[in-house]
Amino acid sequence: MSKSRLIKTGLVLAAFAVVPAVLVGFDKGYYYQIATLAAIFMLLAASLHLVTGVAGLLQLGHAAFYGVGAYVAAILGADHGVGFTVGLPLAGLSAAAIAFLVALPTMRLMSIYFAVATLAIGQMLYLVFLNWVDLTNGPNGVMLFSGINLFGIEIESDLGIYYVVAAVVAVSILVLNRLSHSYYGNALRSLREDDQCASAMGINVTVMKIQAFVISSFFAGIAGALWAYTTGYISPNDFHFSQSILILTMVVVGGLGSLPGVLIGALLLILLPEALRSVGDIRNIIVGLVMFGSILFLPKGLFGEVSALNFARRLLGANWSNDEGQKGIGWK
């Protein structure tokens, strides 16, 4: 068995055997909650990774698309009896559709102007959640009584819910992984490095950016639906600007452009505040110090992009060619 297959099997085993076994062993709802929450935020960080890490577009309104997904799932579930199997993809598609609409006018904006535009979009969507009372129930939020129903089977146990969330997140991350480690991902990286150069090479910069933005928002919408189905109650505050910043921090601390890095970043920023609960009010300061320290000493992230690319290439079965004369530079 090759090393790459070993790592892949290891990751799948960790998500679907080791973590559940530990959860069952402890049998605490608290741990199930943290595991589910961590999975949702890993998906959020992984989706933001595509647009901010790989394509280099500073997106400050990611939580709004997370919110669109959550609201679509919750409203469809609460008012129209649409269940999990239909609601989940619809949530993703709605978030993607809204992302497409807002991407059209904003994608030609450069760097900081784009960042401010996404900030505004995030804020606008938040205010829509808050003020469009007829649709979103405004600040009262939406209560969703139906849980996760898979083809007629009501999933109620904590373990079952974890498995459903973990499966959806794992598949989504797999897709994001293939997207960011492919010719497509390399094209996105070329936009980040020099979009004029990329354009000269025949890459349609605007179309690529719109695609990355839409795909990223699709998965944020999926994450939102998972949050709505697992919590049973959502309100505009869950999708505030501060959540966008939290997700962005996960991406930066983990490593811009590195998928394994942002997953580690998400895990760290969900688990650390919980692990530090016993130290009381100063836990926020400790979390802040850890973040500060990691930016200061590991500016490329906990698992930088170069290592991540090496890692991904190895997983895909490609290695640096190491011929004697160094003539064959590149991948086998």
Binding site: K28, G29, Y30, G141, M143, T231, Y233, D238, S278
Partner: protein, 370 residues
Amino acid sequence: MKLTRRTAIAIAVTAALTPAAAFAEETVKIGYQLPLTGNTAQYGQDFKDAAEIALTKFNASGALPVPVEIIYEDSRSDAKEGVTIARKFVDDDGIVGVLGDFTSTVSMAAAQVYKKAGMAQLSQTASHPDFAKISKWQFRNITTQDQEGSVNAQWMLDQGIKKVAVIAEQTDWGQSVVKGFVEPFEAAGGEIVYTEFFNRGLADFRPIITKLENNTPDAVYTGFFYEDGGQFLKQMKQLDAGIPVYSTSAAYNDKLIELAGDASEGLFLTATFLPTRMDANVQEFVGEWSKTHDAAPGQFPAQAYDAVNIMLSAVVKAYPEITRESLRDALAETTDFPGVTGNTSFDENGEPLKELTKASVSNGMFVEVQ
């Protein structure tokens, strides 16, 4: 280096083990989820202080042969954390009931967990119209806006006010303020000439005030907390609007007078707690509070103080067979509990029935209106 690391580990381990070792098995445990850090930390810190006053007094009184312990968890007013804490409390078999959270949204999200697990949850402030209706496990110790709205409506009608403009913050609570007032006021023959919602933290109320004046109301009914209230009242005075302002118990806070100064003179509001009231229990609470605080306690800490005491008296009723079920039943039976925010009973939904006091600001102080 080696020594310090070892010492650090030893300290960490000791710190982690101490709370578990310090309390004997038979302690009755209550969970309290509240924001101790973050944007709303000032409220959570006040709740904790009020709860400590109530708990110390209770444990010293010997009403129970065993001590009661309150476990505080910081939710940062974030639903993610609120739900996680709820799961943590439910896991702890020793915890028989829960207080909190502060905001409605976090309380509502956590309530889904308590509903499923079967644990009584008593919030001192969750004002969402549907909160207490979630299940039989939810209770709250804050007057509903249906109650405050109808008292205010009647009060205005008694003063000969027929045309009213209504403005409120754009939150679940603000929505209930408007609904709670408009329905009884219109039913009694009043007329609503203007309704507007504003987002919390609005700096400039002048456009709203101008529109409001154009509709020439006899009075304004407002749903705001003291921060927004201070701004609104100041700008009303700047624009020389000269329209009487009525408000709810949420505006009842000494800081409102501090912020608005002269502009707060003549504000009318309903309240359940007045620290100037001479009742023995009110003065005892205010006395204890003043030992550690510069200002008198506001409405919210008083509600928290009563919520803790209501919970504790339910614990006494359920003792010695305290289970989550029996504690819930004891809470539901609460009738005319004599608290600092007036006598409290729970109706069949877990909604508190309280008496309201009419008050106004006069010479920089809240005074009762007879």
